[in-house]
Structures are given as structure tokens and as C-alpha cells.
Symmetry: C2
Subunit: 391 residues, 2 copies
Amino acid sequence: MNIDKIRQDIRGLSDGKIFLNNAGSSLMPIPVVDSMIDYLQQEEQFGGYEIANRNAELLEQFYEETAKLINCKSSNIAFATSATEAYAMALSSITFKEGDVIITTVDDYISNQITFISLKKKLNVKIIRMKNLPDNELDLEDLENLIKQYHPKLIAVTHIPTNSGLIQNVEAVGKICKKYDILYLVDACQSVGQMVVDVEKISCDFLTATGRKFMRGPRGTGFLYVSDKVLEQNYAPLLLDMRGAHWSAFDDYELFKTAKRFEHWELSYASLLGFTEALKYANNIGMHAIEHYNKGLSERLRENLKNSGFQIWDQGNNLSSIITFCSPDGDLENIQKVLKESNVFFSVTYKNSALIDFTNKNINGIVRLSPHYFNTLEEVEKVSNILRIIL
Amino acid sequence: MNIDKIRQDIRGLSDGKIFLNNAGSSLMPIPVVDSMIDYLQQEEQFGGYEIANRNAELLEQFYEETAKLINCKSSNIAFATSATEAYAMALSSITFKEGDVIITTVDDYISNQITFISLKKKLNVKIIRMKNLPDNELDLEDLENLIKQYHPKLIAVTHIPTNSGLIQNVEAVGKICKKYDILYLVDACQSVGQMVVDVEKISCDFLTATGRKFMRGPRGTGFLYVSDKVLEQNYAPLLLDMRGAHWSAFDDYELFKTAKRFEHWELSYASLLGFTEALKYANNIGMHAIEHYNKGLSERLRENLKNSGFQIWDQGNNLSSIITFCSPDGDLENIQKVLKESNVFFSVTYKNSALIDFTNKNINGIVRLSPHYFNTLEEVEKVSNILRIIL
Ligand SMILES: Cc1ncc(COP(=O)(O)O)c(C=O)c1O
Ligand SMILES: Cc1ncc(COP(=O)(O)O)c(C=O)c1O
């Protein structure tokens, strides 16, 4: 991995900032931005339809690059405008009835939780959250018991929760879902682009991701993976449009075969193209190399902060490039002040976004640093030193 | 209206093309493209979150400009990535049960029809299409009878169908919906930007529109209007996310008050900003002036084609800037060939996209020309002459 080259590909680093908010919204490499600008300028000349026709083959690469990234076929991929939209499209293909059960985790993303609560309020769906073990890994025995007791319609797990370094064992859950033949939806919003994500190994039916975070794509992009099994069983969004089916008779249609039926017909092709460039960029470097490098950075940063006396809130046996922490007295203000003054980019999460997790941890918030492969060990040391001084 | 200035604002006209596909995907004015490029370059420097924060006030103008355009408050507006997404978000807020009835028209858009058929297949919702009168206006007496017979949950009308010059009398339908207190959804995808659209006068609960057509915005943009009545009754998308509600307890949330709850949290702010510039552009010229000018152009073009012997397929008493036609023998090929050779931009629709309408008309397809306010009478005459020669 040629870090110098990778950093030269980022115009946003020229002012010396230390960018550690890749779990929020990362810095796009030059080819991502340039391809979008070029595409918009083509559209400006000839209108959006003409340009989509002329670039049809190029635009198809989105599906191929995504398939390569997560180890599936391009026919399993739908473009989405966000991880959340992908999640909603997947959920909308499941016909929930009163009393149906969804099993999820206490660490699942806020929007997923709100979506489930809406299903509960409107359709009387039951939400069950599986237990964590004392070491904060998922309690898989509890999961099997819950499955036997509730016969859930869906199991939904967030691979890497947004406010904790935790990497959930989604492969182990996948084995259980397969054993009991239960639909399995994985939110891989924070893992895709950060580490190797392999849908074959996870063995899920749906997997969702976003463009702007560790993938380094543009805002307003994401994707949905849909397994062959689910496609063959004719799952399709409830509010299907002409992207998904051929209108075959006044009151009938025939579903198209690929996962594109989970898209809306209209979309921003400039954004799709920018995202494709981001996918290519990651595929060219290779996700194994990226994962390995990221592990080195994040372990060092977490270790440094811990040694300086900060309270680290990451839990679990397998940790990610998301580092969450606060001062020993719980203070976040001083950390933020110092980071801002030093041109370090970071984010803060308060309890309202991580209600269950932070209630359990008995905290009001955390500061989050999320290094990525374009960051250097020197940057990690520099930030560690800046922070050490304030304690 | 200063046509010279308006044409100078379009880089896409410099090669002498005659652009008559505004019902497909129009040409963006310079400020639309430039604002998007500028915004993307800001994001490239600092990441998407930082730039959204810095531009928060500017980005709010999207809601104000849309509200101004269709005569409502900014709190009634949600951004959408397309008219179809807006439509799906609106529909998803209605809890359909087995046997519920949707009344729509035979001329409604293909994607709307497919969506309704999906609701029929999955939830056993009944689709009723109101009759047209011999002059192709909606049969409002039939509508009232259908309402009394079926007590529909929703009435859905496409303001200007995509494949016919028809302008539906959505105000008259609105009065009837009000009288019987029925939810009313208007697809204004082809009317917004082309003519005055006033939600007060239409008296609808939901109205959907897109960015790239007569609004001249970027691809991947649109909006949803939601009435105060519906907002106060707590309508919200079924698959709500953190954009729409505050997560107030482990298993509960509180809905936010405005129509933004019909958005997903993540979106392309570059696209939203470009769309805002398009809205400003139209508001500055004024929709009354645009409508008046467009009427002049489209009447002339329709008249010319008719006089040359083409078969015009536009029906109804009140016609729009969409002109649909074919040769007297039904041929489309020759028309397309000549238009392409003359650098005229147009579109073609085949029966599979307008199944009911074209079955009734007993045709296989039409050529569509859709002039807009940046076109000139000279262009209309030129195209008319080019086409006259082939008959
Ligand atoms: C774990 C997780 N899931 C889902 C999302 C939502 O992604 P998007 O904003 O692209 O819809 C996020 C965003 O922070 C996330 O961290
Ligand atoms: C009448 C009508 N409704 C809806 C749509 C769908 O709009 P979008 O492609 O932005 O979803 C169209 C597009 O052609 C249309 O003409």
C-alpha cells in the first residue's frame, strides 16, 4: 500500500488537517470528484437521458465493482441513495403481519431501531433484542432459544455499531439463520470499505452499506445486496416501480430477475458514477490490505488513549477502526476543544443516538475517532500527544 | 421574459441543438450545475458533514423555494430523490388493509400503476380506475358514484400523464375528495415547472414532483408536498428513520413535526442544492409567465403538426407542453430518423409504458416533443418544417 500516492489523491489534505471522521463522512479521492464533475458537465450539454444512454456500459461497472468488493454477482446488487434507504427497501419486501417477530441486537443503529418501532406501532410486529454476553459478544445460545420460542420472521444485526468499536460476529449469526431458515439482514454500513466483508461467509439474505463513510464515495449513495435465494423467491419492494417489473397486463406485472428491482427507476447517475470510482479505488488497493493497515492504526490509537488515562468505551473481543472515548470524569468538551484547535476532524455522539448502549454504559456521550488507510501512524501519534496533554 | 438571457444561461445550447425533451430530462441552467460542482469541491476539501453544517442555512432554501413554487409553507415540503420515491414515501404512510380501495385513472403513470398492482398482489388492495368522458375529461359523476360504492382509502391522479398532452382537472377531483374526506395524492411530475401548480387550489393531501424535467434541476431530485392536515394526523413513512423521529425510549419515538419526516436522513446535498437553484430560477421568472409562454409554443407546434397531416394523440380539453403524435400510417421510424439527423432532441414511448392508454387508442407508440420556455417560436417552426417534408 503506497500511502504517499494515496494521500496525493486527496485534495482535501493539502491544508494539513488530520481527518479522523471516516465513520462519519470521509474525504473523497480525486477520481471520485472528477468523475462526478465530468458527468454533470456532460449532462449539462445534452440532458440526463442522452448521457445515461451514452455511458450505459460505464454505469454498469457500479454493479461489477460492488460485487467484487463483497464477493457476489452483479445481479445481487441494487444501488441505493443511503444505507437507510437500502434497509427500507429490503424490509419493505417482507410482508409483516400482526405478531410477526424481528430479532435484533441492543447495539443496532438508531434508524434501524426507529424503523422497527414503527413496524411495531403500525403493524403490531414484535421486537426482541438478543442478549450480550459479559464480554459484550452476542449471546448465541440466547439467540437459538429466542428462535425456538418466537419463530422470528427476520434477524437483523448491525455489523459494526456506529458508537462503539465492536465488530459483531455476523458469520456466527448467519450460520444460525441458515440452520433455522430465517431471513437475515445485515447492516454493514460501517464495515464495508473498512474491512473485508464477504456475503458468502456471512451467509445473509440482505446486506446494506453506504457510500460516504469508509468507502470514501459521495453523499447520497449506498447499496443493497440481495441473495439469489431471496431473488428467486420473488422478494421485491412493496412499492415497486417500473425499475422492478414489466407491466404485462392492466392489472399484472412480471418481476425483473436481478436485484435492480430494489431500486427506484430514477437516480443521480453522477453520484452512482462517483461511488463506482470509490469502489474501484478500494478494490484496487484491496480490502485485505486496507483491513490490515486499519487494524494497526486503530489499535495504536486506542492503546495510546488508554495509556494516557482516557476512558475507552469500545467493547467486545474484536475491535474496529471506530474508537470511542471520554475523559475519566466523562467530560467531552475539553477533548472537542483541543481537537478543533489542532485541525483534527472527529465526531461526538450523545445518548439520544445510542439510547440502549449508552444507558447500559451509563454515559451521556463519547468522542469518536475513526482513522482510515490514508491516515498515518505519525498522525495517530500526533493526535495521541495532543490529547494526552489535557489530562 | 428575456429569452436571450435564458438561452445564454444554458451551455448545452451552444452547438445549435433544438432541445424538445423537457418532459424527459431537460437542460440545466448554469447556476444549477455550477452550484453542484462548487459544493462537491467543498465536500472534497472538508468531508460531507462539515460542509453540510457550514451551508445549513443555504440548504434550507430548498424548502422555502419549493414552498413558494407551489404555494404552501416550507414545513409541508420533503426532499425526495425522484417523483417515484416521493410517491412511495407518501403511500407508505397509509396503512392499507385487505379490501381497501384505491381509485385512480386509466392515464396514471406506469410506475404508479405497478405500485398499485403490487399493493393488490401483496395486501389485497382493490384498484378501481375512474372512467373518462367521451371528450377524455375525467368522469366526475362516475367518481362520486365510485366513492359512494367503495368508500376508497385513497384517490390518486396524475396531473399531466407522461404520454399524452392531457391536463387532468385535479382541482375538481380535489373538491370531491374534500367533500367525502378522502386522502388525495396528486402526481405532478410533468406539471411542476411547466405550469402553475397551486396545492391550495388543488386541495390535495400529497403531491409529488421531480427535479430533472420541466423544473430543469439535476437527476436524482424531487419533492413531496404533505398537507398540514395529514401532518397533524401523524402520517409518517412506514419505514421511518432518525430523520423523522426522536428516539425517546427503548421501544418508542416521538415524530418530528414537519414533512421532513418523509425524507431519509442521508441525501446528496450537492443535488439538493442544484435543485434549489433550479427552483429559484423558475421562481424568478415566474410560473405564470412560463405557463403562458409554454402554451403559445405547444399550441403552435401541435397545430403545425396537425396541419401537416400528422396524427396527434393528445386528448382532452386542456392541453399541455407535451405533444404526442405519429405518421398517419402509425409509423414512428421515419420521424425519429429525421429528428435525429436535424439535431432535435425528443423521446418515443411504446405501448408497454402506457398500456391502458395506448390499448384504448389502439396504437403501438408515439413520438413526444415537449418544448419549454427556453425554446423559441423559430425552433418550433423549424422542427415543424423538418417534419412536414417527410409526409
Ligand atoms: C451502523 C450504521 N447503520 C446505518 C447508518 C445509516 O447510513 P445512511 O446515513 O447512509 O443511511 C449508519 C450511519 O451512520 C450507521 O453507522
Ligand atoms: C407523470 C409521471 N409521474 C411520475 C414519473 C416518475 O418520475 P421519476 O422518474 O422522477 O420518479 C414520471 C416520469 O416520467 C412521469 O412522467
